[in-house]
Symmetry: C2
Subunit: 291 residues, 2 copies
DNA sequence: TTGTACGCGTTATCAA
DNA sequence: TTGATAACGCGTACAA
């Protein structure tokens, strides 16, 4: 059952036309839902298509129309959840439109790899490319490579003549920080993400900008790497200090809770978690009394 | 710079042939590295190709050869790290071979979705399909759907006439469990993964089999879901009990350490972590004295 | 409303 | 060693 693809050389639109007793053109019209087809003819053709289980060959169609109905998907990172998740979403959306996704997951973001992948896409005649390369150098490489196809970047910031789709991470970070400040916190620790990643960088900027705007004395953010390992280490390390009353952190969802539970010595009954897109802010509703 | 794809209607093998002063066929021969081409001719053609930056149109090639050099990649789950990571690896491997990957990430593993995706692959004339559907029902659906192309499953167990590539999760789990038993542990807790997932199921079976073989009294495993949330909850819940001396768990890498640190009240200086493919076993080198 | 004929870019067959 | 010519399966003016 795993293969029935013996002989039976795949049938074409001719076969359908012959069996249905019409011309190829009529079959083509039915396929494209063009108006000038008699209802009965259309119904009949559809039935034959259904019975034969025929599907138009997309290579031939691409060749004839010089449109591939294919979108190239370039993903730079293979280990991070964010990019992979976004890739899945793009994939899904494309299929719902009847498009197909040709994907290239790059282990390294060097110029050659990117160029090669883009080249392959070009040979396939993709209608466009979606780039998910939130890392600094991957995107720089992308700029260097001459691109022959239109493309849009996810999770990036727009340069001149570039099209991007992204959250405003800076604004989100500012909102989160403001929230903490308005709660009365003045000693806020920011655990940032890897600064090679655009989103992390923008969040840190937002944090610093808001702290500065509110005239709150700011300590240097801790540079994190989004791993649970680090959450653990920080939790342990920060157990001793307690030089802050709130944390604005980039960590896994629950990791921050674990960290804070460690720090506070007791799990918060109902953690006050504020969700901004891709951001988590957690704090007691008010800072503890100064000792 | 984001698009230079104006007019300039992509050049074809004819252009190359004309400019190089040879026939299309010769260009084609050079491309396929066929033997019967004079060295000087080949060099010249290659140079022209290089200068023009020409790449053969893959749709036309697919049409002429009825081989697409394309592999369909069917991924069932969108949220788990394992499947997505494996997908990236497949992608990478394909591109290194000069093949392209057409991917379909399914949000749900119902029959219709799988069937539709497989249908699309078939229309593209993929040379084969790689299935990454470690979940029970997704694979059942796959069996139900009539498949016209050869396919191989990752992370699954082989049924009759099926081809799979997978770790022997059961053996790994048995080895891990044996390790704990040999260290002298007799009260071992297994935190299992979601039993809808084949790998989790096989690991649990391995654990139970080994415990049974060693005649160690066994408590019912705790059913987990691979989330950090659960690691946290379990850590809190298990704080009171302590009815075991070792844990064999399916959790994120460091999550298990956090959990155990919570339980033990103190971080282990040098955690004894044993890595089996996709398994983590952690234990003190010997069980603590019975109180 | 339906059919005919040609082109899309490449490979394959056969002849030169 | 090279070159004409016919497929490959479909879309699309154009004709009927």
């Amino acid at each position: 059952m795993a293969d029935k693809s013996e002989g039976e050389k795949a049938l074409s639109i001719r076969d359908v036309a012959r069996i249905a007793g019409v011309s190829r053109q009529t079959v083509s019209r039915v396929l494209k839902r063009q108006p000038n087809v008699k209802a009965s003819t259309e119904a009949h053709v559809r039935q034959v298509i259904e019975e034969l289980g025929w599907r138009p060959n997309s290579a031939a169609r691409a060749l004839a129309t010089s449109k591939s109905k294919t979108i190239g998907l370039l993903v730079s990172s293979r280990s991070q959840y964010g990019p992979l998740s976004a890739a899945g979403a793009v994939d899904d959306a494309a299929r719902q439109r009847g498009d197909t996704i040709s994907s290239a997951t790059l282990a390294q973001g060097d110029d050659e790899s990117i160029s090669a992948a883009l080249d392959a896409f070009s040979a396939q005649g993709v209608d466009g490319v979606v780039v998910i390369a939130p890392q600094q150098r991957a995107h720089e490489a992308l700029r260097r490579v001459a691109v022959g196809v239109p493309f849009v970047s996810l999770q990036w910031r727009a340069g001149p003549n570039e099209r991007v789709v992204a959250f405003d991470q800076g604004a989100g970070a500012r909102a989160a920080t403001r929230h903490l400040i308005e709660l009365g916190h003045s000693r806020i620790l920011h655990i940032a993400g890897p600064q090679d990643w655009n989103e992390a960088e923008e969040r840190m900027r937002g944090f610093l900008a808001e702290m500065s705007a509110a005239d709150v004395p700011t300590e240097a953010p801790v540079l994190g790497d989004w791993t649970v390992d680090l959450a653990y280490e920080l939790g342990m390390k920060l157990l001793g200090h307690r030089e802050f009353t709130a944390v604005f952190a980039e960590l896994g969802l629950r990791a921050i809770d674990i960290l804070l539970a460690d720090i506070e010595g007791t799990p918060p009954p109902e953690p006050a978690v504020v969700k901004v897109p891709e951001l988590i802010v957690r704090a007691s509703t008010a800072p503890p009394p100064v000792r």
